[in-house]
Amino acid sequence: MDYEPVIGLEIHVQIKTRTKMFTAAPYAYGAAPNTLTDAVVLGLPGTLPVLNHTAIEKCAQLGLMLQCEIAEVCKWDRKNYFYPDSPKNYQLTQNEQPLCIGGKVEIELPGPSRNVEGEHRWVTLNRIHLEEDPGKLTHESFETVIDFNRAGVPLAEIVTEPDLYSSTEAVSFLNALRQLIVYAGISDCDMEKGQMRCDANVSLRPKGTDTLGTRTEMKNLNSISNVRAAIEYEIRRQTEILEDGGSILQETRRWDAAKSESFSLRSKEEAHDYRYFPDPDLMPVLFPRERVTELGAELPERPLDRQRRYQKDFELPYTLTSVLCPERELCEFFEAALLEHSAPKAIANYIANDLLRELAEASEHGQSALSISQCPLTPAHIASLVRVIDEGVISKQIGKEVFSEMFRTGNMPEVIIEEKGLKQSNDSGEIEALCQAAIAGNAKAVAQYKEGNAKALNALKGPVMKATKGKANPAMLDQVLRKLIDEG
């Protein structure tokens, strides 16, 4: 029998605020252990939690980015469990009435090759709720050590419906989700820093049926490649069990990235019984509709909407939009340049190719590429460069040289062209004389050209470009050569 996997994801995202969800203790990744706590974080007797309004508004914005309905009323529950990552033996979360309801995310599946746009589809969400991050446990050989710095950090849990059908779709979903969240400035989603973490629920069903099989939950997926590998491993594992006539045990499994396998978490907790009940210390949140509208108006255009707009309005090819659109800063740089000189394709090309290459090369060896915010160039630099090329002041070829110089010095192209004397030569007398010399010096190329090999002309252009240090106007050069040969 052929089986089809059905996957649902739960993604935890740390919301970028200065202070924690229920107290003013700050959070920063990488701080010395247990230096970012206070009485509320440690759950000391007599303390009371107070909501972080910024976190609530940012979570509502996350919901709007993901096309959720924002609840008019939401409230807080205690999830009771004993585990050393929680100092109070319960987690404050939203069980019954979450802040964001439903939602959907547009994803792009990989195309037949990197340069070809893939199929798009929508993935349905169930909800997003706000909760507090637990502390961080480190399991050593014989002991577990606890750092409560992370405890209490605002955490949004995004829950999808079982609406993903392969590891590839799950990866596409996570990439789309990360782009949306980073775009809106809600989180940096750095999985290495634990800002985004993923649990995957996987089940199999006979192909063509729409029942759901028994699922297992995979925890500890802290990179996109782990998500892919863990889901593929679980599909193989379940397929083997079912093909042998066995049945799947509903359980939580832990992914071990080093061994590339998952193992069952021996669970003495029986069926989880978290005994949720409304938290008596926190009051409900009423979300006024006009505030939802205001928060929505602050949000940027979604990356795939922007991509469609660029393709339609500017006729940019996918090879350019797929580089620009995933990064909001690149798009804003591009749009700012467009305001100065309306040549979308050439500007997009300079940003997607030359600028990103220079940024990558400018970074320290082994470091990641510089970001656009560290770029020595402004949108005006790129716009001016494209303008002087369009106006015939310099050739495209010289443009490359000016670009590198611009990146190195931060000077505007006009200054560089002036200083280095790079202005294109439109002196038809000089070009004609050089062309005649080139024709006289390469009878073979002339003969080939006359036989219909248009490319042979390049052999004649070379010496002229060399003599003018690349400054001969290419269009004029081409025209003069053809005229001289045809007339000769």
Binding site: A32, T35, L42, I56, E143, I146, L265
Partner: protein, 97 residues
Amino acid sequence: MTEKPHIDIDYVANLARIDLSGEEKAKLGTQLNDILGYFEKLNAVDVEGVEPMAHAHQIDNVWRTDDEPGPTYGPEVLTEMSPESRDNQVVVPKVVE
């Protein structure tokens, strides 16, 4: 509603991670069942037309709006309270295999 409330004292004690003697189980079991009995009384009240409330007080939107970091504890506040610690982290028995 006619069914008499019953609490599984062994299950509840296990969830709360407490060991109870037979005598304690009998005593606490009865007390907890009595408490559940009060809820039965509440259930009997006619609440037709009354809006459900999330809290006994009708207050909402109590929050901090400034997101300004406040004071923090040094690690010793925590480690002095814990039975065992090392390098400013709390040490507990290993919780996964």
